[in-house]
């Protein structure tokens, strides 16, 4: 049944494009997204721990051994749930889109369909197909419906949008070019190793590629995916892209699309080429394996993202850079190669997806669409904390979740990552700890400046339209899920841990697996 999340999204895209009226297109899109979420929840309800459900497995391009193979384990299901949540909330927060509404939801749902497809593919070729399907809609969503930097108008705003959109598309495509090269090489090598070509994950895992080849392919494919996960120094598309995107698209970009990259790192690069993380037997700048290199890049990302977020004037850029910082935890967790670190990484994918979605919703929809500015210095005097208290409260809660206060999902996720990192490379803890502190600082600063700035003497308070019902609904949905996972993380860890202990990830279980 999970496969229907994909098909429904594409059908929904077609239906909303062809729908005669704007309101009908909205309803269709919402129904589609809710159905996707419902399918995920129903599957969750009947899920047996440790299951690997094969949904569809039929020959596709049999001459090349490529199969149409959809399957789900706990990790896939976690991310499918996240996609359902983010998609539903995103549509609620874009209820006010009036420009080319039908096309907006069509592109949006195509993107969602591609994302579901990536999470459910168990054939490398199929995964790549869905991965690329997700690129093009992103471009159009930003280029057509995006917003510009503080102060830009007219022509300039248009060219900023297009710049951000093109940058994002090219970064994504460059990343996927690396993946494509790795994929073609894998295809060739498995043919030599096993006699018959295959792209299915189970066949590739058991293909026993030579260590030499894995060493070469791992960094290529990992970097290819990590570009989309916002790994420093390939992260620069993320803040500009997020800031320029329309609210729903930034929610999806930060919430789900960056997870595509992280998921690809785990599912493809690490699962298929585990030997690529073996030590090199020599040291460059004190680093002895790709694992250490990427762990270093991850912690740099954590600190760098947080520090840059600290000095931004543009509210949306604050959140954009914070995404880079939080995605650093995902990558760090992956590189720990411990059970708890990997569990934390997957949990952080979910957690950041929900929280970043919420933050972007507050900034992009609740604040920007009302005040038409994202400049923190201009927002301060508006006393938004009094004018739109709902937004302020949402931002406080989301900020608390984001900095990792216990009770929210961010805490349990980042905590596990740090424990894993402590076991694997203790030195990263120090740097990541600094990142967390800076994270608290920038969230606090953004909160105070945006919502509780000093009132300008004599300036009348602006009356702003109240927070609409769809917005409240979307915010509650996301808040509820981050709280639910934070208070009872076993909902997800019971999915993730058995999946990590399955034979598919055998190659990752090295000495430090605890």
């Amino acid at each position: 049944m999970l496969a229907w999340t994909i098909y429904i999204s594409f059908l929904g895209a077609l239906a909303s494009r062809l729908s005669p009226s704007k309101s009908l297109a909205r309803v269709i899109a919402l129904l589609t997204a809710v159905t996707g979420l419902a399918i995920g929840l129903i599957t969750l309800h009947s899920w047996q721990p440790g299951e690997l459900v094969t949904i569809t497995r039929i020959g596709w391009i049999s001459r090349l051994g490529i199969e149409y193979h959809l399957a789900a384990d706990g990790i896939s299901l976690t991310l499918v749930l996240l996609t359902g949540l983010a998609a539903t909330a995103g549509i609620l927060f874009s209820w006010n889109i009036e420009k080319r509404t039908q096309e907006f939801f069509a592109f949006y749902l195509v993107l969602i369909g591609g994302v579901y497809g990536v999470f459910l593919s168990f054939d490398l070729f199929l995964l790549f197909v869905f991965y690329e399907i997700a690129i093009i809609p992103k471009y159009f969503l930003i280029a057509i419906w995006g917003s510009a930097k503080a102060g830009a108008t007219g022509e300039e705003a248009g060219s900023q949008r297009e710049y951000a959109a093109m940058k994002l598309a090219l970064y994504s495509f460059a990343g996927s070019a690396l993946v494509l090269a790795g994929m073609v090489a894998t295809w060739t090598a498995t043919g030599a190793a096993t006699g018959g070509h295959s792209m299915s994950f189970d066949a590739l895992v058991s293909a026993n590629l030579s260590t030499h080849l894995q060493m070469a392919l791992f960094p290529m494919v990992f970097v290819g995916f990590a570009v989309l996960a916002g790994m420093w120094p390939f992260h620069t598309w993320a803040p500009t892209g997020h800031a320029a995107a329309p609210t729903a698209a930034s929610m999806l970009l930060a919430g789900v699309v960056m997870k595509l990259g992280a998921y690809g790192c785990l599912r493809v690069a690490m699962m298929l080429f585990p030997a690529g993380m073996n030590p090199w037997e020599f040291h460059v700048l004190g680093l002895g394996s790709w694992r250490e290199v990427f762990a270093l890049l991850a912690v740099i990302g954590i600190v760098y993202g947080a520090s840059v977020a600290l000095v931004q004037r543009d509210f949306k850029f604050v959140i954009g850079y914070s995404s880079v910082s939080h995605m650093g935890f995902v990558l760090l967790g992956l590189m720990t190669l411990t059970q708890i670190g990997l569990d934390g990484a997957v949990l952080q994918m979910f957690s950041h997806g929900v929280i970043a979605g919420l933050l972007f919703a507050v900034v992009g929809r609740m604040v920007y669409d009302r005040t038409h500015t994202r400049d923190l210095n201009e927002l301060g005097p508006m006393q938004l904390g009094r004018v739109i208290p709902f937004a302020a409260v949402t931002f406080i809660l989301a900020g608390m979740a984001s900095i990792g206060l216990p009770g929210f999902s961010g805490f349990i996720a980042e905590f596990q990552v740090l424990v894993g990192a402590w076991q694997s490379f203790a030195w990263t803890i120090v740097i990541a700890g600094i990142g967390i502190l800076v994270g608290i600082a920038f969230t606090w600063r953004a909160l105070i400046k945006a919502f509780y700035g000093d009132p300008t003497p004599g300036a009348a308070q602006h009356a702003l339209p109240p927070i609409s019902f769809p917005e409240q609904l979307g915010a509650l949905l996301l808040l509820a899920s981050t709280l639910a996972v934070g208070l009872y993380p076993r909902i997800l860890t019971d999915l993730i841990l058995p999946a990590l202990n399955s034979p598919l990830f055998e190659g990752l279980r090295q000495g430090a697996w605890r």
Binding site: R63, F140, A143, L180
Partner: protein, 489 residues
């Protein structure tokens, strides 16, 4: 020369004869019965006749089985050549249908007949392994294309394009002929299989190397590979749009197929190797150089273009580079990948030119002129989106699978992964290409157009044809097995 029985000759070449006769009938009808009819009607009836003739020929081809050969390797029909011939005929039909909304000429009969004659030439071209016949068919094809390029008598650009194409083409024919004469001198035969047998040996004759280079130059012009590509941007820009589409699609299929025949059959023993650390002289390293250059020049030059058609021309050059990978692989898989690639490329680029053709009357040439097209013609814009994304290699469109297949074939060629350097270059360059393809789509979808939005003038036939092309591009991408099964891969 062995004697040929005329009965055999007629039987073997029946599909070609049908198309040629159709062309003549069309010409005669147009000059007599349709003399007084309006141009749209003449185009309609003419395209109908062309379709009937081509379909008849396809019918004959699908109902013949096995291989038919004529002496001296003059004519060799195998199931594979039949598939390519059918593809060529299908492309001719689609081109004829697309031409129904052009208003560039009143010489309707001649225009359509030339398309059919060019198709006949291409059908001969793919079904022969005799140097003499290859050259004659190639010249026949080229002459038809020169005229089609310069067909718009009102347009100075069209005439210029035709002349440039003619001059470059004539020179390339000279190179090709020189190479062929060397091959004949080396082997004493003009039949490809015998040439291969004669020049086999441990070391490669320097003269054979010159012959290889000359042949590569000659065909390099035909397939518009860098550095022999200079005619292409001018011809694509100046020619009537449908003619440009025809040059980009059909003639590319035929030229690549015959190029493949010449090097893989005729020079099978002089292949050499282009793999890293396994380098050996032969035609493979020559083609590696041409392929690498085409990818780089095509993609980088396309970025700077402001005219849509010039952009498509440079994109065609880069695609020629990717396609050469199939030849370089020098394996059955490489051949199948090449044919799949070139056929799906032909569909996408014919489609793109078809869409541009509907805008021809408004003199649209610059990329900016496409602004706001999605509002004026949503369906047409969607088709253009599909064609352009397929050219960029975005799944699930056929252009993506074609690239994957041809890259895999190149890497799979012995020594395994030896061509990695070229494949990496190709992958990197295809990432670059997304930029300029998106630049076109940006104008169509993102940019706001001029406020006056007159509906487009195009016939129902053209509209349907473009949709058929778009469907094929999607279908062959989602289910490549449909075409692969035919190729016997």
């Amino acid at each position: 020369m062995n004697p040929i029985s005329y009965a055999d000759l007629l039987r073997a070449t029946l599909p070609e004869i049908v198309v040629a006769v159709t062309g003549l009938v069309l010409l005669a009808l147009d000059l007599s019965a349709l003399r007084r009819a309006s141009i749209p009607r003449r185009f309609g009836v003419g395209a109908l006749i062309a379709c009937i003739g081509s379909l008849l020929s396809i019918w004959i081809l699908t109902h013949s089985t096995g291989t038919a050969t004529l002496p001296d390797a003059m004519f060799i029909v195998t199931p594979l050549t039949r598939v390519v011939q059918i593809a060529l005929l299908a492309l001719a039909i689609l081109t004829a249908l697309l031409s129904t909304s052009t208003r560039i000429t009143e010489h309707v009969g001649e225009y359509l007949a030339l398309i059919l004659f060019a198709t006949v030439a291409m059908m001969f071209l793919v079904a022969t392994q005799n140097l003499l016949l290859i050259f004659v068919a190639l010249e026949f094809l080229s002459l038809s294309l020169y005229i089609l390029t310069g067909f718009d008598k009102q347009s100075r650009q069209s005439a210029e394009a035709g002349l440039k194409y003619f001059l470059f083409g004539g020179m390339s024919a000279g190179f090709l002929l020189f190479g062929m004469s060397l091959l004949y001198g080396l082997s004493g035969s003009i039949q490809l299989p015998q040439i291969a047998a004669a020049i086999s040996g441990s070391s490669l004759d320097p003269l054979a190397l010159i012959a290889i280079v000359m042949v590569a130059i000659g065909f390099g012009f035909k397939i518009a590979a860098a550095p022999f590509h200079l005619w292409a941007p001018d011809a694509y820009q100046g020619a009537p749009t449908v003619s440009a589409g025809f040059i980009a699609s059909s003639s590319k299929v035929a030229s690549f197929f015959v190029f493949a025949q010449v090097v893989t059959v005729g020079l099978a023993t002089a292949a050499g190797n282009g793999a890293y650390r396994a380098w050996a002289p032969g035609w493979v390293p020559v083609l590696c150089a041409i392929a690498a250059l085409s990818m780089i020049v095509g993609n980088l030059a396309a970025i700077a273009q402001t005219s849509v058609r010039r952009l498509l021309a440079y994109s065609a050059i880069s695609h020629a580079g990717y396609m050469l990978l199939g030849l370089i692989a020098h394996s059955p898989m490489g051949q199948h990948a090449l044919i799949y690639y070139v056929i799906t490329y032909a569909l996408a680029s014919l489609g793109a030119f078809g869409v541009l053709g509907t805008l021809e009357a408004e003199g649209i040439d610059k990329i900016q002129d496409l602004a706001g097209l999605s509002k004026r013609a949503p369906g047409l814009s969607f088709c253009l989106l599909i064609f352009v994304l397929s050219l960029a290699g975005i799944p699930p469109l056929s252009g993506f699978f074609a690239k994957f297949y041809i890259f895999s074939a190149a890497l799979d060629a012995p020594p395994q992964l030896g061509l990695l350097w070229l494949v990496l270059l190709a992958v990197a360059m295809s990432a670059v290409s997304l930029y300029y393809y998106l630049k076109v789509l940006k104008q169509v979808y993102v940019a706001e157009g001029a406020p006056q939005t007159t509906p487009l003038h195009l016939t129902l036939v053209t509209r349907v044809t473009i949709w058929v092309l778009a469907t094929l591009v999607v279908l062959l991408g989602c289910a490549p097995g449909l075409l692969l099964r035919w190729l016997g891969a």
